[in-house]
């Protein structure tokens, strides 16, 4: 679509002319966000890959618990399994949010056109809303799992204290 065709397509209908329009600075601010959203998306994907490698390295090379805690093999395995689940969830969260950030950056690409339409703005802002909603839900899930991990560690510690 040429710039002129897009301009003709964006001519307001009588119903639409009563709506407010975005200022030039708003469009420029949205367009300038694309690079940052892309950078955040790439960094999140790198973070997911590094966390995955870190999780695998810890799984095979590190002891289940720090120090020399007198814990049964089954308890150590349970703790390691819970810790691995938490790390796996973190990897998934980083990867999915990274993909959502890159999707927002792709939607902003359309806002950078000479004459973006209202649907381009709506699509970009919709993608941004989905990113922040995912961040919020992921944070709730991560906090919930961390609380479970802390409770599990407390129970293990109390069990150790009772046994010794």
């Amino acid at each position: 679509m040429t710039g002129k065709e897009a301009q003709v397509q964006n001519e307001p209908t009588p119903e639409a002319s009563s709506r407010p329009s975005l200022t030039r600075r708003s469009v420029q601010a949205l367009a300038a966000t694309r690079a940052w959203a892309r950078l955040a998306g790439i960094a999140l994907l790198v973070l997911a890959a590094v966390e995955l490698a870190l999780g695998l390295a810890n799984l095979f090379h590190q002891p289940a618990l720090p120090g020399n805690l007198p814990i049964s093999p089954a308890g150590a395995l349970g703790f390691k399994a819970l810790d691995s689940v938490l790390k796996a969830v973190a990897v998934i969260i980083y990867a999915v949010t990274g993909w959502y950030a890159l999707r927002y950056a792709r939607r902003l690409e359309r806002v950078r056109q000479p004459a973006p339409g209202p649907e381009d703005i709506a699509l970009a802002l919709g993608a941004q809303h989905r990113y922040w909603r995912l961040q919020g839900v992921a944070t709730i899930v991560f906090i919930g799992l961390s609380v479970v991990l802390v409770i599990a560690m407390t129970i293990i510690s109390i069990g150790l204290a009772v046994n010794h």
């Binding site: 407010p20 600075r25 601010a29 870190l54 810890n58 973006p116 209202p118 703005i121 961040q135």
Partner: protein, 136 residues
């Protein structure tokens, strides 16, 4: 020839902005709590450093990194959420100005977001190198 017309704000765009607001408040408040914990952590680690010597040194740095990540995040997210609240309250005449402020602040949020995630990625990378004993 007419100048390129600015895009109209349709209901979908406004609805997306309205629905983003509660999540930004939620994340911003959590980041605030994180910054407060980081400040407390720095204080306690500094006290530990003063009493026990060099052992608390690493903890102070961990607290400072946590604070440098969470404080700007909290500020940027709450500022954006406040701008989104203005969009919700604005009448037709003030709407373009309110949306402009929201667009400018969302750029700020994404700059802080990219910086934060970048720092986390670098820290994780060094953690990985340490886990693989590549510093020996």
């Amino acid at each position: 020839m007419n100048a390129p017309r600015e895009p109209l704000l349709d209901d979908d765009a406004l609805s997306a902005l309205h629905r983003t607001r509660p999540w930004l408040y939620f994340l911003g408040i959590l980041a605030c709590i994180g910054a407060a914990f980081a400040a407390l952590f720095i204080l306690l680690a500094a006290l530990d450093l003063a009493v026990n010597g060099a052992q608390g040194h690493l903890l102070v740095w961990a607290g400072i990194v946590l604070f440098l990540i969470s404080a700007p995040t909290a500020y940027a997210q709450l500022a954006y959420a406040a701008a989104l609240s203005r969009v919700t309250r604005a009448g037709r005449a003030e709407l373009p100005g309110a949306v402009e402020l929201a667009c400018l602040r969302q750029r700020g949020v994404w700059i802080v977001n990219a910086f934060t995630v970048g720092v986390l990625a670098v820290v994780s990378f060094f953690q990985l190198l340490a886990a693989l004993n590549l510093f020996r």
